[in-house]
Amino acid sequence: MSAPLLQVADLRVAFRSGQSWSHAVDGVSFDIARGEILGCVGESGSGKSATATALLGLLPPRAARVSADALVFDGRDMTRLSEKEWLSLRGREVAFAPQDPMSALNPIMRIGRHMRLIQPRIAPREAHAAAASALQRMGFADPETILRAYPFQLSGGQRQRALLAMALLAKPKLLIADEPTTALDVTVQAQILDLIESTARADGLSVLFITHNLGVAQRLCDRLIVMRTGTIVESGATSEILSAPQHAYTRALLAALPGAAPPRTRLTQRAAP
C-alpha cells in the first residue's frame, strides 16, 4: 500500500478570542488513503469544520493559528504553502462541497459561468463540453439547460449536484464535503451520497466527509473518526465503531439516532400498552 494521500499529525487550530486563544482543534491526527472515504462525525463545535477549513488553507491568518507536526497532502507539506500555491491546490486538487447549496451559488450568475471558475484558461468550447459532461455524471439528463439556468431555477438537490459537478470538474484527488446533505430531503440525500460514493469508487477519489449524522456516515464511509471538543475520541472502521463503540461519547451519539433503542423516559413508558 502506497503512502496515504493526506497525513495529518497533531493538527492544532486556535482562534483568537480577545487576548487569549481558544483551541478549536486540539491535536488531531488521521490519514486518508487514496480512494478512501473517511467520515468525520461529531456535534457542532467539535472542531470538524475548523479541521476542514485548515485543510483548505482558508483560516483567517490574523484571527487563527494553525500548527501541525505533519500536514502532508500528496507529498507536499501544507503548512509551508504560499497563498499562490494554495490557489493552485484549492478546487483543483483539493475540492470542496459546501454545506448549504441554497446559499453557495451566486444568485445572479448562471451555472455555466460558475463552472468556468475551475478552468479559466481553457477555451470556452472545451470548458463548456467538460462542464456538460461533469453535470451529466452527476445525473443531469439535460446539462445544457442546467448550464444556462440561474440558481433560483434549480431545486436544492439540483444545486447540490451542480456544486458537486463543479467540485469534481477538475478531477481532484481529495474532496472535502462539509455536511453536503444536511440541507436536503432524505430522498435527495441518498442520491447525493450515491453520487459521491460512485465517483470515489470509480475515480479513486478520496473523501473527507464531515457530518453530524451517523446514519449518513454509516451508509457512506469506510472509516470514521469521532470528534469532540477538538480531539478525536474514537477512530476505526465504520462497522466496528458502530457495532461496538468504545467511547461513551460515541455511544451517546448512537443513542441519539432516531430509530435506535428508544430511551426510557416517561413518555415512552406511558405509550407502552
Binding site: 490557489l87 478546487g91 444568485p107 459561468r113 475551475i118 477538475a170
Partner: protein, 270 residues
C-alpha cells in the same frame, strides 16, 4: 422580474423629460438662450414668454431648457467621480483589509467631518471658478460617502455563502471581485448613485449661484436663480422658474432612486 413600483415610473418620467431638455434644448426651447430683446425686459409670463423674460429680455423658459445641459452634466460628472472613485477605494479597502483599510477609513472619516459645501467652495475658488472645476471639487468631496457605502456592502458580500463557497472551491481574488463582488454591488450603486444625482444638482446650482460655476452668459440653473435673486420680490419669475427646475430634478432623481431601491431590493419581497 417583479413589476416596478409606481414611483419608479414617476421618477423616470421626470428624469426623462429633463434629459430630453438637456439633449434637445435647441429644438425644445422657443428662443435661443442668449437672444436679447430689450423691449421685452422683465416681461411677465405670457403666451409668448411662458416663464417671462429677464432684465435683458431673454426668455426665461428657453434659458431653463438650455440650462438643463450644464446643470445635469455637472451633476452626472460629480456622481461619476464620487461613485467611481468611492467604489474602487471602498471595495479595495474591504478586500485588502488590515492597515490599508484602517488608513483609508480614517481619512474618509476626516473628510466626512468637514463641511462639504464650504470646502468645495474654497476648492473651486482656488482652482478658478468654472463648471469643470466645480464638478471636480464636488466630485472628489463626495468620494468618502461612496467609500463607506461600498466598503460596508463589500464586507457583507464577502461573508455571503456563495463568496465563501467560491473561495473554498478555488476562486482567486480576481474572480471574486469581478464575478461576485462587483455584480452584486451594482444594484446598490445604481440606487445610491441616482439619489446622489439629486444632491449633486442642488450642490452644483448652489455653487453656481454664488458665482463659482457657470460663468455668464451661460444659462445654468444656479446662475439663473442668482440673476433673478436681485428682483425676486418684483420680477419673481426670473428666479422662481429655474428654482422649480432644480427642485423638480432633485425630486425626479430621488423618486427614481427610491423606485429602483424598492424594485431591486430582494428583501422588499417579504
Amino acid at each position: 422580474m417583479r413589476r416596478p413600483p409606481f414611483v419608479l415610473y414617476a421618477g423616470a418620467a421626470i428624469v426623462a423629460a429633463l434629459g430630453a431638455c438637456a439633449l434637445l434644448a435647441p429644438w425644445i426651447a422657443p428662443y435661443p438662450p442668449n437672444a436679447v430683446d430689450s423691449g421685452m425686459a422683465f416681461a411677465p409670463p405670457s403666451a409668448t414668454h411662458w416663464a417671462g423674460a429677464d432684465g435683458l429680455g431673454r426668455d426665461v423658459f428657453s434659458r431653463i431648457v438650455h440650462g438643463a445641459r450644464p446643470s445635469l452634466l455637472s451633476a452626472v460628472g460629480i456622481v461619476a467621480i464620487g461613485l467611481g472613485g468611492g467604489a474602487l477605494i471602498g471595495a479595495l479597502a474591504a478586500l485588502i483589509g488590515g492597515a490599508t483599510e484602517q488608513i483609508v477609513m480614517r481619512v474618509t472619516e476626516i473628510v466626512m467631518a468637514l463641511p462639504g459645501l464650504v470646502i468645495a467652495l474654497a476648492l473651486t475658488a482656488a482652482l478658478g471658478p468654472s463648471l469643470v472645476n466645480l464638478t471636480l471639487a464636488l466630485g472628489v468631496l463626495s468620494i468618502p460617502f461612496y467609500v463607506r457605502l461600498v466598503r460596508g456592502e463589500t464586507l457583507t458580500l464577502r461573508e455571503r455563502g456563495f463568496v465563501k463557497a467560491a473561495r473554498a472551491m478555488g476562486a482567486g481574488p480576481l474572480w471574486l471581485a469581478v464575478r461576485h463582488i462587483a455584480p452584486n454591488l451594482a444594484p446598490v450603486l445604481a440606487v445610491y448613485g441616482t439619489m446622489g444625482l439629486s444632491g449633486a444638482v442642488l450642490a452644483a446650482s448652489a455653487l453656481s449661484f454664488v458665482g463659482l460655476g457657470a460663468q455668464p452668459p451661460m444659462a445654468e440653473w444656479g446662475a439663473l436663480i442668482f440673476d433673478g435673486s436681485q428682483t425676486l420680490l418684483t420680477e419673481w419669475w426670473v428666479a422662481v422658474f429655474p428654482g422649480i427646475a432644480v427642485a423638480l430634478s432633485a425630486l425626479g432623481f430621488n423618486l427614481l432612486g427610491d423606485g429602483l431601491r424598492d424594485w431591486l431590493d430582494p428583501r422588499g419581497d417579504a
